[in-house]
Symmetry: C2
């Protein structure tokens, strides 16, 4: 592959990736509203919903860890966690690694609540799937993950 061909290809790829970003905005907003409608039934704000799902999929973690994983400021996550803790959805357990920063763990109530929300969302997604193949969805996940990781380094370079 010649130099010009390569740059042409990466040129076009960049265009397609831009298209991906153009989809992410609207998709985020629509999903946001859907989640908002949906999670408020359990009395969860969008922010709380996000941290609870994180804990559900990832097991106990510290607040700063979650902030990084969700691309949210640690202070914001802290607020969400404090809120969740005040409602008994989440509890603090000692962290063997860092003594100051305790691990956050779902309580049984928390697990119940977030599971209810997520299950309801999954029910919607099941009908959505339609003719999408597993391979396509996998590719999508790979592309998005890659984009996510690359935006991490934006400030560094």
């Amino acid at each position: 592959m010649s130099e010009s061909e390569r740059s042409l290809a990466s040129e076009e790829l960049a265009d397609r990736l831009a298209e991906v970003f153009d989809l992410v905005g609207p998709l985020y907003r629509r999903a946001f509203r859907k989640v908002e409608q949906d999670a408020t039934i359990e009395g969860l704000s969008v922010g709380v919903r996000a941290v609870l799902t994180m804990l559900r999929d990832h097991g106990p973690m510290t607040v700063p860890q979650m902030g990084r994983a969700l691309a949210l400021s640690r202070q914001f996550v802290q607020r969400m966690i404090n809120d969740a803790a005040a409602r008994g959805l989440v509890e603090f357990v000692p962290n063997p690694a860092h003594k100051r920063s305790s691990l956050i763990r779902l309580t049984r109530e928390g697990r119940t609540a977030i599971t209810a929300v997520v299950d309801r969302e999954r029910a919607v997604l099941r009908q959505v799937g339609g003719d999408l193949s597993g391979a396509e969805v996998d590719a999508c996940i790979r592309v998005l993950s890659r984009l996510l990781r690359s935006l991490d380094n934006v400030e560094i370079e």
Copy 2:
């Protein structure tokens, strides 16, 4: 494929799609910040940037059309457009179809500004592309489009 197999498959597909959504949130936030840093150089807010790209890719459209396309309220889009118009980035041209609602069109200044922003973003994306294949990106676009469309109907059904 038996009934149980099909439902198993759609069950699993739903899980993967949920994964996609979990990526959309962080990705949106990171991209948002990147755009913020980037577009403020031209003095464009994120909202203005969104409507200008829309006009750039799609040609002249009315405010309500853009609202639907971007999953934003028509009032919000209107504000962005008025803002853009006040700075001469955009102009109103008579709409043959609807007499009240004029078409919004990029001015030359607007095109210049948005092109500068988008080009700078593309430069970043070019390096990001890496080992992603065109097919993967296409699949990603298809999946996201599908999700977007399906969330449209959420309130209807």
